[in-house]
């Protein structure tokens, strides 16, 4: 084992760590907080079995991962959690996490390195999709001593912190005692909320964990409730049966909330971009008009993003500039400007590329994306590009995208504007590759030798952003803005300050408090 780690990881603890049990002595948790979701994924209570971002809301409220990350403004913000600090080897293949002392599980037993190793070894054995990206690169997880856990990777990974944040740590002793089956019914974790009960397809009830090291919740009871229907959500919010609609999708709900004096619409930034990728470019050798950069630029110029944001997103979003790089973030070069909606230029570019009269292509969509696809197709019509809309069922779509069998055309998709995203999209041969471009791949690989942080952002800004902007590897559309409908009797300042926890769905309800 490599004991000679060169420490280049910065110890972040000093000013970031929230003082232990800052307010637990003074305030007793009271009251009930009900948060509404459209769905909670597979609603698993098992920290390695959740399947979609939505189900993370449950396990990440109950549990605490090694590292918490928050999306704040245009960048990620990693905060020590169960790991109080971490070190990274220069080759980015060995990650060492120091486990914080004095963390207890909900049943009062202390959390040790053994629990961390136990949890992560379960991850490595799981065939489930969500575990895949982590386990495919981890060689081993082991305890170095009683306060350090060592992760050895197969390949260098500058984004490992992100992966380290995806699994809550579970108690080894308890899990082994009751068995995995029973654990998934009555789980115990070390997060700010204790599990009380669950009804599949309906709700999960939790209770404040008063022994939490980071933040004791202000509310006594937290209920995450599944309400698929928007009007019902709104009615519940209006009557006070619920306190928060966690995700207000663009639509009539937005104005309803804006117009109600008891409610607020709180918009939070997200890293999520809606974009279009070219189905032929995900493979190296398929002939396609999109191989020509000018065609991609033309299609991009012919989209009126402002109109789309206004009409289809109720203003909850902003035009995106370029693939996978967040506009106005430390990763964007200051010389870059929003893409102008310019049909004339688009036409010129198309003629130069040999398509003066445009061409025919296909737009692959699932049912929920129809409106957006139709809007785009009608805009392209003006430059002669006739995009036929092909609707597919979700499962079939997933399979076709995975196997890269979609015919030549474009597919609407969403991804995260983070360096990790770039790493997935810009290298050849990956599952999420959007383009085969030598220079882009070379730049991306170079970026990935720097651990995620200001230095990496600097590199992206200076070396990559202008190139990506010009290359148009995928057609950028909209940076989504997430919105929550909140009752006015809830104090949200602390919650808004902390940012969006994890990918997006985790409620971070411990930072919400009743207004006096």
């Amino acid at each position: 084992m490599n004991r000679r780690l060169t420490v280049i990881g910065v110890l972040l603890i000093a000013f970031l760590v929230v003082p232990l049990s800052s307010q637990s002595a003074s305030i007793k948790p009271t009251g009930k907080l009900t948060i509404l979701y459209s769905n909670l994924g597979n609603e698993s209570l098992d920290c390695v079995k959740w399947n979609t971002g939505q189900s993370e809301a449950i396990v990440m409220s109950l549990g605490e991962p090694l590292v918490n990350f928050y999306w704040k403004g245009p960048a990620l913000d990693f905060k020590p959690a169960i790991a109080s600090s971490w070190k990274i080897s220069p080759d980015l293949k060995t990650w060492e996490f120091t486990i914080r002392k004095g963390i207890n599980f909900h049943d009062g037993t202390p959390l040790t390195v053994q629990d961390v190793v136990f949890t992560w070894n379960r991850v490595l054995k799981s065939p489930l999709s969500i575990a895949v990206s982590a386990k495919n690169i981890i060689k081993s997880v082991e305890a170095l001593n009683d306060k350090t856990v060592l992760f050895q990777l197969n390949t260098p990974d500058p984004f490992f912190l992100y992966k380290a944040s995806t699994y809550a740590i579970q108690p080894k002793a308890y899990t082994e005692k009751v068995g995995e089956e029973e654990f998934s019914k009555k789980p115990i974790y070390a997060g700010p909320w204790k599990f009380v009960k669950q009804l599949q397809g309906d709700f999960v009830e939790m209770e404040a964990f008063e022994g939490h090291y980071r933040k004791v919740p202000y509310y006594k009871t937290l209920i995450l409730k599944i309400i698929p229907e928007d009007s019902t959500k709104l009615a519940m919010l209006k009557t006070g049966e619920a306190d928060i609609i966690f995700n207000v999708m663009p639509g009539p709900l937005v104005n309803e909330i804006r117009n109600d004096s008891n409610l607020r619409l709180i918009s939070v930034p997200s890293s999520n971009e809606t974009y279009l990728f070219m189905t032929s470019l995900v493979k190296p050798d398929k002939v396609s008009p999109f191989r020509d950069k000018r065609v991609r630029q033309a299609l991009s110029l012919a989209i009126d993003r402002k109109l789309i944001v206004e009409k289809l997103y109720n203003g909850l979003g902003s035009p995106s500039f370029m693939a996978a790089i967040m506009p106005y973030s430390p990763m964007m070069h200051p010389s870059l400007t929003p893409i102008r909606y310019d049909i004339k230029k688009a036409k010129t570019l198309l003629s130069e590329a040999g398509y003066p009269n445009g061409f025919e292509t296909e737009l692959f969509l699932t049912n929920t994306e129809k409106a957006e696809g139709e809007a785009i197709a009608s805009m392209w019509n003006k430059i002669g590009v006739k995009a036929k809309i092909t609707l597919m069922e979700m499962g079939a779509m997933l399979a076709a995208v995975r196997e890269k069998t979609l015919p030549d055309g474009l597919r609407l998709s969403h991804h995260s504007c983070t360096p990790a995203g770039m790493w997935y999209f810009f290298r050849k041969g990956g599952h999420y590759t959007v383009i085969y471009d030598d220079k882009l791949e070379e730049l991306t690989n170079k970026m990935a030798t720097i651990p995620e942080g200001p230095k990496m952002y600097e590199f992206i800004k200076n070396e990559m952003s202008r190139y990506v902007y010009d290359l148009v590897p995928s057609i950028p559309l909209v940076i989504q803005q997430y919105s929550r409908g909140v009752r006015k009797n809830i104090e949200t300042s602390e919650w808004e300050k902390i940012g969006t926890r994890s990918i997006f769905w985790v409620p971070a309800a411990e930072y919400l408090r009743p207004k006096k």
Binding site: E43, P127, A399
Partner: protein, 305 residues
């Protein structure tokens, strides 16, 4: 009568078996659940392992025989989506659906039958006109719209009832009305026409000639004779509601079978789809059986066949 009942019971079992088989193969037409479970990055090993875990690696006829054998001992396997035994998932959702179904049917039958009867007693009278409009509204307004309307008026504006969710008796009122109104419409019409037919019969005149009170004429003679089509419709309605009115359950966030079934279809959760269909159809078939037997009790001509 005994032979009649035995025959019905035998037919019920055959039907359940056929439904079971049918749903097994139909569920598999929806596609491969693995598409939804696995990620793009999953390796072949992950795929094989998952397939094996879910029992999807066996040939289809073996899957089928395993499945039938399981059904016999009440084992429907684990839900792919929730990773819990299907039966236990159903057992937590079924009471909600039963409760809603029973209340909705009570509402629809009590009102449907009384309005229908009163309408038939005075065709084109005040009650008949009111009943016609009421029924027409119930049948023509989309359930979705009725639900939202009731929520907005009674839960948001007047705050008499909770907007949604399962809980006390108050929670039941709005969803039962929403669901019951729709079925009530057809019940009103069926009762009215069936009663009109019966009231026109000579034997009803005869009961009046005997000097029987109107209550006896209507409730004893006319109603019993009008009962069979009403019962038939009623048992069909039970079936419709048991399948769960997905829309009502969605609007009122009612944790019942309807939502469970839709979710299981969307996630290609074969075991759960199968279990839901088998359980609801078994209940439905049982109710039909009971209704068939009741026919026998009501009508001696069926009994003495």
């Amino acid at each position: 009568m005994q032979r009649y009942i035995l025959k019905r019971i035998f037919l019920a079992f055959v039907t359940i078996y056929l439904v079971t088989t049918l749903v097994f193969f139909l569920a598999r037409i929806t596609g491969d659940p693995m598409d939804l479970i696995m990620s793009a990055e999953s390796t072949q090993k992950d795929w094989d392992m998952m397939r094996h875990q879910l029992g999807l690696d066996k040939p289809i006829y073996l899957q089928y025989t395993d499945f039938i054998a399981g059904v016999f001992i009440g084992n429907f396997g684990n839900s792919l989506r929730w990773d819990k035994p299907c039966l236990s998932l159903i057992l937590v959702h079924l009471p909600a659906t039963l409760q809603l179904t029973i209340c909705a049917l009570l509402f629809s039958w009590v009102f449907g039958i009384s309005i229908g009867t009163l309408s038939a007693m005075r065709p084109n009278g005040l009650m008949d006109r009111f009943g016609k409009i009421f029924a027409m509204l119930g049948q023509s307004m989309p359930i979705f719209w009725v639900g939202i309307l009731l929520i907005l008026t009674f839960a948001v504006r007047w705050q008499i009832f909770p907007t949604s969710g399962r809980g006390g008796l108050l929670n039941l009122v709005l969803p039962s009305i929403t669901l019951g109104w729709y079925t009530m419409a057809s019940m009103t019409r069926m009762t009215r026409s069936s009663m009109l037919d019966v009231l026109d019969m000579e034997f009803i005149k005869m009961t009046r000639i005997k000097g029987l009170s109107e209550v006896l004429v209507i409730c004893k003679h006319a109603f019993k004779n009008a009962m069979i089509p009403i019962l038939t419709l009623g048992s069909l309605q039970v079936g419709i509601l048991l399948g769960g009115s997905v829309i009502t359950e969605t609007i009122f966030s009612w944790p019942g079978m309807g939502r469970l079934m839709v979710q299981s279809v969307f996630s290609r959760d074969f075991p759960l789809i199968q279990a839901c269909v088998i359980i609801t159809s078994t209940i439905f078939i049982t109710i039909n059986l009971l209704v068939d037997i009741t026919y026998g009790y009501i009508d001696p001509r069926i009994r003495y066949q």
